[in-house]
Amino acid sequence: MKTLELRGVSKVYGEGPTEVRALGNVDLSVEAGALVAAMGPSGSGKSTLLTIAGSLEEPTTGEAFVGGRALSSMSRNDRARLRRRSIGYVFQDFNLLAGLTAVENASLPLELDGVSAKAARVSGMEALEQLGVADRAGHFPDELSGGERQRVAIARAVVGDRHLLLADEPTGALDSVNGEAVMRLVRAACQRGVAGVVVTHDAQLASWADRVVFLRDGRVVDQTSPPLGPESLLAPGSRG
């Protein structure tokens, strides 16, 4: 099932001489359980692609579908509910609320959606456990390391029954080993059935994805073939 589908999506900011075309006629589908990376340099349209997929912005032309529903056919309230219930976001700088503990941050989307504080807390703890930071539940963000903060941010993004995970340079502020740990967790979330989209300029991060699409000047110019198994690297005589 396609969890996310963009059909002919374009986004233009400004008008006349100040017009900027951030995205041009982008098609992209992400199945449940798959992780797709959109890779490109600054200004290639990566972040715009993510905000449209997450219904934070509307395309100028084209259509975005989440869970088979066209976002343009939904009311503003329905879109807000979809964002709270079905879509998780992970950003480079974590975006945790400083005044809330780890478990309060992780359970926040559910509380905002009207789930009782007690039930939301149970789900928040489950998400923290999945991400290996349950022992930090009562700590505030400034008491956590960068790696721990990003784990809490991912817990918040997958808490409850979310089926679309959108991440913007999620390992950008972390060292290589912590970055790898974060990508293993994103992969694990996808293996549980979440559809993931990661936008990045970083090839090492993109290489965790099942498929990499290359963005240039707002367009998808290329994409990787389905990866061969790692055993192809081990063929006798493949290396000197």
């Binding site: 340099p41 970083d202 090839a203 290489s207 990499v212 240039r216 990866p227 081990l234």
Partner: protein, 193 residues
Amino acid sequence: MSVRHALLALLSEGPKYGLQLRQEFEARTGEVWPLNVGQVYTTLQRLERDGLVESDDTAEDGPQKGFKITATGEGELSEWLRTPPDLASPPRDELVIKVLVARRLPSVDVGHLIQAHRRYLVELMQQYTRLKEDASDDDVGLALVVDAELFRLDAVIRWLDTADARLKRLPEDLADAEPSAVPRLRLRAGVRR
């Protein structure tokens, strides 16, 4: 990769048989660098000739012949571990040469060429990342070898990205200009002149 020094390193742990050396070498380099049997025995013969290892005098040549490291071998291994690899001499990089040549050919779109190489390299990185993902947590040797390959490939992609951006920013008159007859920078055997 120095098979010679890798075998000395394995023998510094204690005497071993030829077959055992081959198996341990492959296990510790994450099986990414397969060795053929002949390479192991030829290298062992040379190490023995140079006085760096000693073999059981009685045993026949073959997988069951035992070897141990000599004091000279220990010294050679220690020296090798501390000697920095030769990174000062730039390698003759085939990809750099291809992009330089492509710039001069009107029939070639350099941006497309760069993207084709970028895609291939990302696909290769996906395979290495999958290898690391599937490996058990205690297989540190594999993780180290795969990390090295990933950083190497990542560096090539970063160079392609930079080349792409640099060529796109070039004014058209410069893009079409003839190259100077004598390259301004000569790189030879580690000496920049």
